[in-house]
Symmetry: C2
Subunit: 462 residues, 2 copies
């Protein structure tokens, strides 16, 4: 017996087309793209926030637990900084790590104006941003945020994301964050469409994807949370052909995951070997990788007037890049199945290169990361995309990387890449980014660049 019911098409083919139209629309209805940096500057001045490094002892309500040495908030909420022991065949290390089990919402509200999707972007101050204020999603809320653990104001527009009409959800997927700094952190990456009358507050502007693409070409304008949400959106019509079929790509990745032996144990921060604490930082004796420091934020027009918090500070600027080739008219990028200690499941797909070159000085006799020099030495005419972006400013301070997409050739990046690497099309990467834990956060920044067209159109149309 068949019950009457309203069925819907399983796929919404128009979503990709509507996003493509938005990406092709260079002018929005709300603000000129060229005005956006000036608007961000106004918000920056208006907020008047100052961020100072402080000694750990000056943290309010944060302290080192007497038994473990873990750095925690008095309320038991927000996050903690603990220790992690990572063991792999032939390598093992210990390090501090941020533990924040709760799942936050990174949500962008979308709405059609004149038939074109616009996205409500926020000018948001984060203490770790090098320029404090960047373009962020409509909503960026930890669960502590929206359950008011810090007694702040309600998160504006949050109601669109907490119980959305599922037929208006363009994407909603749990994505990992930095596996080198976070223990198994993930956030919901959401885009929800509305046709209601949504007034844009002072700190918000409606932008097309084309406008955001143009802003992605600038340094430190589009924040990490916005980049990862945009990468999670279904892209326009994907290439029907690729160097390997989708099933072959999954088979390769399954084999990569299966061959990794990674054993990870949390441990007390105070017992972490190779790291030492002073009044103002916890860092490695050899000065590599990152430090844990403390900051004080004052005069910020945020949910609360001012606060102090621990934060992670990388020691040097990173480099994150995709090798890019066009095979028989179809663009491909070279992904790396990369193990990070904080990943929930061993490996995720990462850019071709992802490291801080300063950690590999020429004097270091150890092996250099594959393809690093290809990125460092790329001639200008092979660079399709280059911009500096910082990582999440709520947990990382001055965590900048140069993001690159570089044209390469058979000699430097062969059609049959070395083990652990695989050529994928942007469409294949976008398909996988529709599910959890395939594409790491750095690769998602570059995917956002590819999907919005910020690196220019490639392939036959180029």
């Amino acid at each position: 017996m068949s019950a009457p019911a309203r069925l819907v098409a399983r796929s919404r083919p128009k979503t990709g087309e509507r996003l493509a139209l938005s990406a092709a629309t260079a002018q929005g209805v709300h603000i000129a793209t060229s005005e956006v940096p000036r608007w961000l500057e106004r918000v920056r001045r208006c907020a008047g926030a100052t961020v100072r490094r402080i000694p750990f002892a000056a943290l309010d309500h944060w302290s080192f637990a007497p038994d473990t040495g873990d750095l925690r908030h008095r309320s038991g909420r927000f996050f903690t900084i603990e220790g992690l022991h990572v063991m792999r065949p032939g390598a093992q290390w210990q390090q501090p790590i941020i533990v924040q089990p709760e799942i936050g919402i990174l949500g962008i509200l979308a709405k059609e104006f004149d038939g074109v999707l616009h996205f409500l972007m926020q000018a948001k101050m984060e203490p770790g941003n090098p320029n404090l204020v960047q373009l962020s999603p409509t909503v960026q809320a930890t669960r502590s945020n929206y359950t008011k653990a810090h007694g702040g104001a309600a998160v504006t527009y949050l109601e669109h994301f907490v119980e959305p009409d599922r037929q208006r959800v363009l994407t909603d997927v749990l994505q990992s964050e930095h596996g080198a700094w976070f223990y198994r952190k993930r956030n919901r990456n959401m885009i929800v469409e509305t046709d209601g009358d949504v007034p844009a507050g002072d700190a918000f502007r409606w932008l097309t994807l084309g406008q955001i693409a143009e802003l992605l070409r600038l340094d430190n304008v589009v924040n990490m949370d916005a980049r990862t949400v945009l990468a999670s959106a279904p892209a326009a019509a994907a290439e029907p052909r690729a160097l390997s079929c989708d099933a072959g790509l999954l088979a390769w990745f399954t084999a990569e995951r299966a061959r990794q032996d990674v054993s990870v144990h949390r441990m007390p921060l105070r017992e972490v070997a190779g790291w030492q604490a002073d009044e103002r930082s916890i860092g490695r004796a050899d000065g590599r990788f990152f430090r844990v420091v403390a900051v004080s934020v004052e005069g910020a027009g945020r949910e609360v007037a001012g606060w102090t918090q621990p934060i992670i500070e990388p020691v040097e600027r990173g480099i994150v890049g995709f090798a890019h080739r066009v095979f028989d008219g179809v663009p491909h990028v070279l992904v790396h199945a990369r193990v990070e200690g904080g990943f929930l499941d061993t490996a995720e797909l990462a850019p071709t290169v992802q490291c801080a070159p300063a950690n590999y000085p020429p004097s270091d006799p150890g092996p250099r990361p594959p393809f690093l020099d290809l990125m460092l030495d790329a001639p200008g005419d092979r660079i399709r995309y280059s911009a500096v972006h910082s990582e999440e400013g709520g947990r990382f301070v001055d965590a900048e990387s140069r993001y690159l997409i570089v044209d390469t050739d058979e000699a430097s990046t062969p059609t049959q890449p070395p083990p652990g690497y695989h050529w994928v099309t942007p469409g294949q990467l976008n398909w996988l980014a529709g599910h959890s834990r395939y594409v790491n956060v750095q690769a998602r920044t570059l995917l956002a660049v590819l999907s919005t067209g910020a690196a220019g159109r490639t392939g036959r149309a180029a």
Copy 2:
């Protein structure tokens, strides 16, 4: 510049059609379906294996670690039985759990005969199977197996799965196993096609999916490993319409995962509260759920001549069932976003009902699992599918469940189901089973039944 290269179509549309043809082929070229149970019986007699419960002290090379009480093999390999502490809002418990971090291969070799795909199935003895010998994948190998940790013979046909031609891989996906008994266990579920000349050994037969479907209607013939691999195969042309679109389904599941607070810690087995050990078993004081016991296997024609091992024994037969409805001509089943302590990521999609009814006696004042009585009391003419299957016989002894697919109606299972439940089409479930950790192992057994047509054709054609 575009480099010449051989591109392939990203999707292999014929795979689904070829599997559908195999499912529609009731007779194979190698053995009549009716002969299969007799063949399994011959292998059973020939193996002449006997399995006896033994005291823990009679285990060879297995012992309780002096410090933790964990049950381990002298070599440090195979698996251990440790303790697990699971905390959720309003509930927390401790239990023994099997820890086996290495990823095994469950692989089925496929080959066309007379233009129809056949699958090389093995008659395999496992000590926990109620009838010892069942139909299993071509290869069922832990990494200890194929690195010869127990000094046995090489695993036959393994070479087809270790470094397969990726263009011949029909499926290769990491799937979870029982989250109530295993800590984050996953195996590779692989189907690899060959066109080589592959002789079928005495313990192997080539079968069509149609033949396997008929055998799935029998009790305890197709083992769990075979069922989960078959569920992971791409199904034939899926329904284009459903009660919710694919993006809406993912949004629902993301919200389900995000709302779960599950905190899990491994702990020493000897400290697990509520469980007590005697010479022959570790069980709960109230007799519920399962016991850890030890068995001795003798006279088996397996990789090694005989062995002893710990094994998990559920106290009662389980019931596992999908509520099934046809909406506007399209069949749907009601999935449950179920939390199990051993899952890597909080919840997976489970059948409508999955429990051991004996754990919920009528005298128990606590809440009964939703829809349980709907399954227990289903009239015969509403039962689309019913068979008893046992779980993996290498780790679980006499772990039988009745698997059901039951036609239900609006009164018992409304179109708008309660929180935590969602209507999906078999095609949607199959789509998700192509990725890791969406569909739990019990739901995959029922998905194999749906995909192969073992429950009969449903929907408009019915």
